[in-house]
């Protein structure tokens, strides 16, 4: 990888991304065995610096780091000095002083991960675990891994696949990272959303845009449903939850329109009954649980690559 950090899916070339997917696959095989732990990052310290609550992403990174034998420190903004007005700079310098080798940062401000990496506040490797409405690159990697696992297991990339990303594109870091990465891997992406939830400027993205989910469903290979935040309601992005659900929710009728081989994805946490019905989430087409599982393997691969761990073969026995 050209960069010492993982801040954006743009940091990855196609080869970098494919290599990470291959490494993740290998790591997944090993950790599926009885001894899940590898010694590769022994002595390294990984800090999970979470300014926003995200239990899923944090425990995914934590599990990944621990399986590679790294020491993990969880630094949550709630109840810490950060909530008493400490700046990002001071927090970073504190972590630097404590000898963090990698900082996994989740922050409500777009660009916070990049600021951390660009500033001279800290020398550690920075991994973006979601910054505001910007990016969430490890989510895109785990999504690509999951798609490949199900639909392109024996091919080199994702060429020829059509992926729908449905819902709140405007505020979605998952969508931004996925658009970048899936394009690099050869997939064609169509964004489906009401115009209020598409950013001005989206016309320059390498995607197709549609306002009509029903029209798109029969031709796609992957449908990725995004979470609708409750607060969007109050801001008049759409009239009511029900109207949104009728236009853009995945339900059993729509599920039946999909090709037989198509898969259903969701980055979680889901609003069952809003953007995805319970039966769709639990359908055989749904790979949502695989996404969660693959998240650990992908994050192991990212930590392994960025922190320059010892060869994977060396087992801890």
């Amino acid at each position: 990888m050209k960069s010492a950090h993982l801040l954006s899916a743009e940091d990855l070339s196609k080869d970098d991304a494919l290599k990470l997917l291959a490494t993740a696959k290998e790591l997944a095989t090993i950790t599926d065995g009885p001894n899940k732990k590898l010694p590769t990052l022994r002595g390294k310290t990984v800090v999970n610096l979470f300014f926003e609550d995200s239990t899923r992403t944090r425990i995914s990174f934590e599990t990944a780091a621990k399986r590679l034998s790294a020491d993990v420190i969880n630094f949550s903004a709630k109840g810490s000095s950060v909530s008493k007005g400490e700046s990002l700079k001071d927090t970073a310098q504190t972590l630097q002083a404590m000898g963090a080798d990698a900082v996994v940062i989740r922050h409500g401000s777009s660009g916070a991960a990049q600021r951390l990496a660009d500033s001279k506040w800290i020398q550690a490797t920075v991994i973006n675990a979601g910054d505001g409405t910007h990016e969430h690159p490890t989510q895109a990697l785990l999504d690509a891994f999951t798609i490949k696992q199900h639909l392109r297991a024996n091919e080199s990339d994702l060429s020829g696949l059509k992926v729908l990303i449905v819902g709140d594109i405007l505020h979605s870091r998952v969508a931004r990272s996925n658009v970048i990465l899936l394009n690099k891997l050869g997939a064609r992406v169509t964004l489906v959303a009401p115009p209020t939830l598409l950013p001005v400027g989206v016309e320059k993205w390498p995607v197709e845009i549609s306002y009509d989910l029903d029209k798109e469903l029969p031709q796609c290979d992957v449908v990725m449903m995004l979470r609708i935040q409750q607060e969007r309601m109050a801001d008049s992005f759409f009239p009511t939850e029900r109207e949104y659900s009728r236009g853009y929710g995945l339900n059993s009728y729509r599920l039946a329109q999909l090709q037989k081989s198509a898969i259903v994805m969701h980055p979680g946490p889901m609003n069952r009954g809003l953007e995805i019905s319970a039966d769709s989430a639990d359908d055989v087409k749904s790979v949502i649980i695989d996404q969660v599982k693959n998240g650990v393997a992908i994050r192991m691969a990212v930590l392994y690559q960025l922190l320059g761990g010892a060869p994977i073969g060396a087992r801890n026995d």
Binding site: D118, G132, T133, E135, R173, K204, W205
Partner: protein
């Protein structure tokens, strides 16, 4: 008595000048190679001191980032002999007491004119007029009123303000920003904001207010000044208004003439400013508008901020950039070197016209016998490299750090006194700092 030899005026003529008792005592033609008496003006341009109608001095309230004194020093270093202190201090300049305090601080600094701008509404709250009459009749004689930083968004309050200032021949300087369209806005809304995930500040939020206020100004026959125009659409609206004979004037900042929103890409808050940096297309329209005179003047929107307000993540950072010390050079680079304007045009946009708009009678005057001696001498062929550590401002938030810019100011004469000599400020009244 100050003598100045062989300087070139903006019309190209060469002169020798004598200054005494605060005025130009004599001005005679020079061959360009006359024996030098006093200051050697050879190869340099002599023009009236620059006049800024949009300066944030931070005193009272944030003296850690700028004071009236350090702001004045910064102004002189940038060739300004008059600046206008925006009202958004703490306390807000919304009473005769506060504007008189700022006026007196300017007098005691004594190196350039400091004219306070009064708030339009109490505490910049947007819904109750400030004591405009008391400020106008105070010793500060306030003529420009602005809630800058905030928009006077309520159309009825804006209408009343436009009407009310007519008594005092005042002018409302509007910060055009429709608040509902810019809640939590961080940068220009467009291709860059979509990609990097920052909340957009759309051009239409500026243009909607400009259009509304032009129509209100026409309706009540008052005077409107649009602060820091940033969009191509804004230029079009002002052009339309001027064609209809509506009394609207407008300013553009140096940074909006040079910088574009793609600089925001790496989230460095040094580029965070309100209104935001726009696109290349907007920059070109602003330059064209300024060249044509649709945009009347350049104003700095000099906005000092202490280090911690910029050394942080983008969303937590303050809006604003320094401007006084680089303004002339940025305008030379963007407008004169590109042949869009002559030096005469530059002198009009940065000195003569702003003084007319504000009614600063001793400023922006023709260089003739008997005129007040507020003058600067500029070497147009020299260049300098901006270093944020060497600025006279108390703050360092310049977006031009390490940029090489044309035009070096060597001497500044304020009210007949040499306040900058050979590139150095002559009056160092540091004791006034406290």
């Amino acid at each position: 008595m100050i003598k100045l030899s062989n300087a070139k005026l903006v019309d190209g003529s060469l002169v020798n000048v004598e200054i005494d008792q605060g005025v130009i005592k004599s001005i005679v033609k020079s061959s360009g190679k006359d024996k030098v008496e006093g200051i050697d003006g050879s190869g340099k341009i002599l023009m009236p001191g620059l006049v800024d109608l949009h300066t944030h001095l931070r005193e009272p309230g944030r003296e850690d980032s700028e004071t009236v004194l350090t702001g004045s020093q910064s102004a002189v270093n940038g060739g300004y002999t008059a600046i206008s202190a925006m009202a958004n201090t703490n306390p807000v300049a919304d009473t005769a007491g506060v504007v008189e305090q700022i006026f007196r601080l300017g007098k005691s600094a004594g190196i350039c004119d400091v004219y306070p701008i009064g708030a339009v509404t109490k505490g910049l709250n947007g819904d109750q007029l400030a004591e405009i009459g008391a400020m106008a009749e105070s010793i500060a004689r306030v003529r420009i009123f602005s809630d800058d930083g905030n928009c006077v968004a309520d159309p009825l309050i804006m209408r009343r303000a436009l009407e009310y200032v007519k008594t005092y021949d005042g002018i409302i300087a509007q910060h055009a920003q429709e608040p509902k369209l810019t809640i939590n806005a961080q940068m220009n809304e467009g291709i860059v904001s979509a990609r990097i995930g920052l909340k957009g500040w759309p051009a239409v939020a500026e243009e909607a207010i400009i259009a509304r206020d032009i129509l209100l100004t026409d309706h009540v026959q008052s005077r409107l000044h649009i602060c820091h125009v940033t969009t191509a659409g804004g230029v079009e609206l002002i052009r339309w208004a001027k064609q209809r004979g509506i009394a609207v004037t407008a300013e553009v900042t140096p940074h909006h003439l040079l910088l574009t929103d793609d600089l925001v890409e790496n989230y460095d808050p040094i580029y965070k400013v309100n209104p935001p940096l726009r696109t290349e297309r907007d920059v070109m329209a602003l330059r064209q508008g300024l060249a044509e005179g649709v945009i009347d003047i350049v104003a700095t929107d000099h906005a000092p901020h202490s280090a911690e307000l910029k050394d942080c993540e983008w969303q937590s950072a303050a809006f604003g950039m320094l401007g006084l010390e680089s303004a002339l050079s940025v305008v030379i680079k963007t407008m004169v070197e590109t042949k869009l304007m002559t030096w005469e045009d530059l002198s009009a946009r940065m000195s003569i016209r702003p003084a007319q708009i504000a009614g600063y009678e001793n400023q922006g005057r023709q260089i003739i016998e008997g005129a007040p001696a507020n003058l600067i001498l500029v070497d147009p062929n020299a260049s300098w490299t901006v270093n944020r550590d060497n600025l006279k401002s108390k703050s360092r938030n310049t977006p031009f750090h390490q940029m090489q810019l044309p035009g070096v100011i060597s001497d500044v004469i304020y009210s007949g006194n040499l306040v900058m000599k050979s590139g150095k400020l002559t009056v160092v009244n540091a004791e006034l700092n406290d």
